[in-house]
């Protein structure tokens, strides 16, 4: 076994065997499972017990309302408001709904009254409002002698369907193209940012640990400093990949298990005002279209470039972190001024994508960011879901690979000097000088 592979093996195994790694890797999908179960639980939660509401129909438009989820409507009979209020106090019913007469047809806003000492849950009050509004609408239509069918014809939905002009572009775009692109790009960007930052810093801590442990000189007398640094970078990178693969598999297992556990066909998203009104057919249609959009994405290209950008970004940043770690003493706080130049571009890139990328993935700033090699590992994967011009992707790829090679080389120059330097507060200027040392 070569020395480099021995180092990689040790770096990998000591990390993967750590309790914190095992717990983190297992717990994330368990957390996801809990989250999904909570959502399923919440969406099937009816907002408390059923309440009985007497309807005092002064407007004479309500008639008999069918019972709803959690609300039972009772006719008031000939009882007065006061009599009904007494029934509420006696806990025979939960509340009284008074619908005053509709006097003015021009009026848009109507007020109805609910008498009770218990608070009406928002979900229930929304439901009641919707039912009464429907009744008022029917009453207005009747009074104005409007035909319901004709009225329906007046309603129009408009959506923009983007169509490409260049023949090489996919002209079968829909209003979901952008949304799905954003989601795919966003997830890739977030994953890249998170992994590069987390595992890059892991390399830094590990370099610092060897330096403060004083084992580094022993190691140096057996292996070249560059091998030791690369062994660390590659080892930690493999740990990162292991974690992601484990998460993907475990998440897959979890999303397969949840329906079994809850006995539901699929996990429904929580009820929101937006989709509460959507009829099931339309929802199914949306789902289908999103699936179509997803399948239209060029997955081999996306996954392939994700891997290249991950490797590029990871090598660029983790070698920077390794160099910084080698220059630092035992004290993490003291090295803040050194870690900043390594973390800042990464955070800036993520910030640009999350602020500018969402609005327009093809803006000048985004084009620059997706080519500039310190930003491109974060920014380009985001743009990839939007079919950027191929030459931009090509330049970006060439630059990111070249920069990765350059940064690894540069970090190696700094590392070999810094790692053996003790008791000295190091500045960036000094680190730069180190790169010119011979041998």
């Amino acid at each position: 076994m070569s020395k480099l592979s021995l180092i990689i093996k040790r770096e990998y195994l000591t990390r993967v065997r750590k309790k914190s790694f095992i717990i983190g890797t297992l717990l994330a999908p368990v957390g996801l499972l809990v989250y999904m179960l909570v959502i399923v639980g919440l969406s099937s939660y009816q907002g408390g017990d059923e309440i009985k509401v007497a309807v005092l129909d002064e407007a004479k438009i309500v008639g008999n309302l069918p019972d709803e989820k959690g609300v039972r409507f009772l006719p008031s009979g000939n009882k007065t408001l006061d009599q009904l209020k007494t029934e509420v106090t006696e806990k025979k019913i939960d509340g009284v709904l008074r619908v005053p007469p509709v006097s003015n047809f021009q009026q848009k806003d109507h007020t109805i009254y609910y008498y009770s000492d218990d608070k009406l849950a928002p979900e229930k009050s929304g439901l009641i409002e919707k039912r009464i509004a429907g009744k008022i609408k029917e009453f207005k239509m009747d009074s104005l002698k409007l035909d319901a069918g004709q009225l329906k014809l007046l309603e129009s939905d408009v959506s923009i369907d983007p169509e490409g002009i260049n023949s090489n572009q996919d002209d079968d775009q829909s209003k979901y193209t952008a949304g799905v692109g954003l989601a795919v790009g966003g997830i890739m960007t977030f994953l890249l940012f998170f992994m590069v930052l987390m595992y890059g810093q892991m390399v830094m801590r590990s370099v610092m640990e060897e330096k403060t442990n004083r084992i580094v000189e022993v190691m140096m007398s057996s292996v070249r400093p560059f091998d030791l640094m690369m062994g660390k970078i590659i080892g930690a990178g493999l740990v990162g990949l292991t974690q992601v693969v484990a998460w993907v598999i475990l998440s897959g297992a979890v999303s397969f298990l949840v329906p079994l556990v809850t006995g539901m066909g699929s996990v429904e998203p929580p009820m929101t005002p937006g989709n509460a009104t959507m009829d099931p057919e339309m929802m199914q249609d949306t789902g289908m279209r999103i699936m179509t959009e997803l399948s239209k994405q060029n997955w081999p290209l996306l996954i392939g470039s994700f891997i290249i950008y991950f490797l590029g970004g990871y090598f660029i940043y983790s070698s920077m972190f390794a160099a910084v770690g080698s220059a630092m003493g035992d004290d993490l706080g003291e090295g803040q001024s050194l870690t900043l130049p390594a973390t800042l571009p990464l955070i800036l890139a993520f910030y640009i994508v999350s602020m500018a990328g969402w609005r327009n993935p093809d803006s000048g700033l985004m084009v620059f960011s997706s080519i500039f090699p310190l930003f491109s590992p974060i920014a380009m994967p985001f743009r990839l879901a939007f079919n950027p011009p191929w030459w931009q992707v090509a330049i970006s790829l060439i630059l990111v690979v070249a920069s990765a090679v350059f940064f690894v080389w540069l970090a190696g120059r700094i590392y070999r000097v810094g790692i053996l330097m003790y008791g000295k507060k190091v500045t960036l200027k000094e680190m730069w000088k180190w790169t010119f040392y011979k041998g």
Binding site: M1, K3, L6, I7, R10, T14, N213, R214, I215, V216, E217, V218, M219, M220, S221, S222, V223, P225, R416, L420, Y422, K433, Y437, K438, G439
Partner: protein
Amino acid sequence: MILSVQDVVKTYGNYTAVNHVSLDVPKGCVFGMLGPNGAGKTSLIRMITTITAPDSGVIYLDGQKLHARSPEQIGYMPEERGLYKKMKVGEQLLYLAQLKGLSQHQAMNEIEAWLTKFEIKDWWNKKVEDLSKGMQQKIQFIATVLHKPKLLILDEPFTGLDPINTNLIKEEIALLNESGISIIFSTHRMEQVEEMCDHIVLINKGRNVLYGEVKAIKNQYKQNLFRIETHEALPTELPERFPVVKTEKNALTFKLENESDSNELLRTFLQKDIKISRFEEILPTFNEIFIQRVAETEEQ
């Protein structure tokens, strides 16, 4: 020669750490590398161990220019030493031995032999952080010699060791030396040099200021001082050619012009029928030579 350093220079920026140093280490000897802190010893050792490369000059190990596999023939215990705290003793030794080019099988055999020798076989599964400092030093020593190096370089090997462990390691060093391993022993503690080394080099400010065999150097620096200790009162009248440089209660120290005058001196005492309990030549300690040489070179 096991090691030959020829006109080696190493600079860091504007600072010259090693300035045209040349020296030879004969095969099978214990070679002392002396010098005050910051003299350039560690910089020189780092070049010998291929941790860094010289700016100019050449280093030969066993007749061959240093190359990528040279480290496998060297065992180096740096002054700044350490182990992976979270790793188990056995795993750690195996890892370090494999990095020195041993196969897993060879490494396992060697580790077992050494752990048995030090009667610490049950430490295999102990984490390094659970061991005492002295115990860790033992492991460190084993890690340094596991791969049977031709040249062993020990930088201040006894710092932090208690007298018992110091003796244990001293004995091991002597045994390894007997088995043919050459040893470079870097220290600033002179009494250890006198006790253990055959040859020395004294380095100050990056330069080789004194180099040679221990006995020869001592002879070179001796001042013909002879001390006579008596059982009775000291004689009052002595010939003028025996100048006294130091008078103690029952002893006198003379500085003679020639070494051969010592017999004459003794005869004078015997003729006076003074009962002598001790007669010796006082050789300079390395401490004195060291201080003298450092002062001389700094004047230059």
